[in-house]
């Protein structure tokens, strides 16, 4: 043991020439810990890359600043864990009150990576650099077993295929929303916590930190006003766009999936829409231009027909329908996109047209089904009779 230490000391002295100036004062520790293969009693690597550490955000610190309990050499095999909170008190306090409060499962290094290679968050080498955040969080939140254990959705694959994920991974957009843009970083709270940025009523503000214009529109519409008034049933951004698997709203897939979302609250409207040409065409795919809810009602600033600014206000209908139907006139826009042919009070003309057509259908088919069945029976009877008499003749 003694010989090994002295060899290490000699090696350390030699290395001292090579280590950067920033860690000049740490040669004592590095004389042992510069050896990348150095392990503690439990087999954990305790080697430190002096170059990387020197370049890291903590490069100007001395080993003892963090490993404060080590005063002398040789030090005990079991050392006290480093307390990041001794400097980073705010972050530690945030973490302690968050969903990641369990320290054994979420040490600082679980997100920030190797303690001796921590870089500022605007450095591409950092684990919390915007473009690296999804991968860092995805190490746990892209894991089926972990998602199942905590009853969470496996969000990483959803996010990475979303419009935000593409912007980040394909375009390398630093402004693209990554996990912490919406969830925060240290003080992450459950979406059920009213203080969380992902709590229902806080979502418009959270999304609005980037999508300010859309949020302003939304807050002026019926849904935004209802949410602001505390109606938790009214939809916020994520109810229509989803939270993680957000699609480009003009994409076919989004146009195909979103009508039922509106219909999950507006059931009667969805049912009557289903009866129309718009829906019949639209639900078959490959022809996604047919009007969906928001093509007529607006997407974010949905307003009642009684509001003169609403696209479905009487005065605006020609323009609204005219977006698709070139040549739409006042008579054309009397078309009812939610007519209910089964409702005699609301749509009497349509009700009687449908009734007449149904009676015609039932009457015609009813008569001819009986007529043709009788005919079949009679013809077959004659055929068999003829056969048997012929059989007799032959005999």
């Amino acid at each position: 043991m003694k010989t090994a230490s002295s060899i290490a000391l000699v090696l350390g002295a030699l290395l001292a020439v090579a280590v950067p100036r920033a860690v000049w004062g740490q040669t004592d520790c590095l004389s042992c810990h510069a050896d990348a293969s150095l392990q503690d009693a439990s087999g954990k690597s305790v080697g430190v890359d002096a170059h990387t550490f020197g370049a890291s955000i903590h490069g100007s610190l001395k080993c003892g600043d963090c490993h404060a309990t080590i005063k002398d050499y040789p030090h005990p095999d079991q050392i006290t864990p480093v307390k990041c909170e001794s400097c980073h008190a705010d972050e530690a306090a945030g973490l302690a009150g968050s969903v990641h409060s369990l320290k054994s499962e979420h040490p600082c290094t679980s997100c920030h990576g190797d303690a001796h290679a921590i870089f500022p968050k605007d450095d591409a080498r950092s684990a919390v650099y915007p473009l690296n955040v999804p991968r860092t969080c995805g190490a746990c939140h892209g894991n089926d077993a972990m998602a199942k254990k905590h009853g969470l959705p496996n969000v990483y694959p959803m996010y990475i295929d979303s419009i935000h994920g593409f912007a980040l991974s394909k375009e390398g957009l630093l402004v693209a929303a990554n996990c912490q843009s919406c969830h925060g970083s240290h003080h992450i709270l459950s979406h059920k916590d009213p203080l969380s940025p992902t709590y229902k009523t806080n979502i418009p503000k959270t999304c609005g930190s980037c999508h300010a214009g859309i949020t302003a529109n939304y807050m002026g519409g019926v849904h935004g006003k209802a949410v602001a008034a505390g109606d938790l049933k009214a939809p916020v951004c994520s109810d229509c766009h989803t939270a993680h698997a957000i699609l480009q709203p003009t994409a076919d897939a989004f146009r195909m999936q979103s009508t039922p979302i509106c219909g999950s609250c507006h059931k009667e409207k969805l049912s009557t829409y289903r009866d129309t040409f718009h829906s019949q065409l639209g639900s078959l795919g490959g022809y996604v231009e047919t009007a969906r809810c928001w093509d007529c009602h607006g997407a974010h600033d949905v307003l009642p027909a009684s509001d003169p600014n609403s696209p479905i206000a009487k005065a605006n209908l020609v323009a609204t329908c005219g977006k698709c139907h070139t040549g739409a006139n006042l008579s054309f826009v009397q078309y009812q996109p939610h007519a209910n042919a089964r409702n005699r009070k609301l749509n009497p003309a349509l009700y009687f047209v449908r009734l007449f057509m149904n009676l015609l259908l039932a009457g015609t088919l009813g008569f001819f089904v009986i007529h043709t069945l009788l005919w079949l029976i009679r013809s077959r009877y004659d055929q068999i009779k003829k056969k048997s008499t012929e059989g007799d003749n032959h005999a």
Partner: protein
């Protein structure tokens, strides 16, 4: 009265060419029927997925042909074919019946216009079904054939008009009230449904699948039928022509084997497509209601 079964046996005994054949449909009429049933199959096949757009097979079919854009294109194409066929037929009626004042287009035994005999035949036929009377002696067009004709005639006007009203909605809205645009879809889909259900069940059975014609009446494909068939199915017309001495003028060449086989392939294809669509329609309709 010789029965068809017997007639068929006799014709099997005699060689095909020895049997006298009579012309029933002209070449133009057969082509018109071909245009009618092929465009109708196309319209039914592309219209049904639309009517039952929530059903699984409709979505599968739409996906298979490239989405509804493709289906709509094909539906409109068939609609144009059928419209042209209909206009050709109208022109024929106007030319023959009004311009040339041909007798028998609007009046008499050879006309498609229903007359008192048709009413008597209908009740006589029903009585015969129940064993209460003799089988009526039909003339050139029996009452159910006239019904088929007028059902298609009315259907084409109703479905055609409502279809074009949807196709060119802004144009039609210039002279139709707004609610009519709602009504045309109801009319189009219900009348279409009626046409599909009627043709693929009643017409198929009445004309092709009933024992006297089973499995298929080829006369609308070959244009001619054997003397026995003529005599059995339309005794009144046969006797009338014989009495007028016009029977010989209707004698035609027996259809060639290729013609019969070709007709069978086309006819069976149409019937099978129709029956498949009928099953799909009924299953979707029953699930819906």
């Amino acid at each position: 009265m010789p029965d068809l079964e017997q007639a068929a046996m006799e014709s099997r005994e005699k060689s095909h060419a020895e049997v006298r054949h009579f012309m029933r449909f002209t070449r133009a009429q057969r082509y018109l029927h071909a245009a009618l049933f092929s465009s109708f199959l196309g319209l039914a096949g592309t219209g049904l997925p639309l009517r039952f757009s929530e059903s699984i097979w409709a979505r599968g079919l739409a996906k298979g042909v490239g989405g509804f854009g493709a289906i709509l294109f094909f539906h409109k194409f068939c609609a144009l074919v059928l419209t042209v066929a209909f206009l050709i037929h109208l022109k024929e009626i106007v030319t023959r019946g009004i311009i040339h004042r041909e007798k028998g287009i609007f009046w008499g035994a050879t006309s498609m216009v229903p007359n008192w005999k048709d009413v008597k035949d209908l009740f006589g036929h029903l009585r015969w079904f129940l064993g209460l009377g003799a089988k009526p002696r039909f003339d050139r067009y029996a009452y159910w054939e006239k019904f088929d004709y007028w059902a298609v005639f009315w259907g084409m006007i109703v479905i055609g008009f409502s279809g074009y009203a949807m196709w060119f909605a802004p144009f039609f809205a210039r002279f139709l009230p707004g609610w009519a645009l709602n009504a045309v879809l109801v009319i189009h889909s219900e009348e279409g449904l009626l046409a599909i259900l009627f043709i693929f069940s009643i017409h198929f059975v009445n004309t092709h699948l009933r024992p006297d014609s089973f499995p298929m009446d080829l006369v609308v494909f070959t244009g001619v039928e054997s003397e026995e068939e003529f005599k059995t199915k339309r005794p009144q017309e046969y006797e009338r022509l014989k009495a007028q001495g016009k029977l010989e003028a209707r004698v035609a060449e027996a259809p060639g084997i290729w013609q019969i086989n070709f007709s069978k392939v086309v006819g069976f294809t149409a019937i099978v497509i129709g029956l498949v669509l009928l099953v799909l329609t009924l299953s979707a309709y029953l699930r819906e209601s």
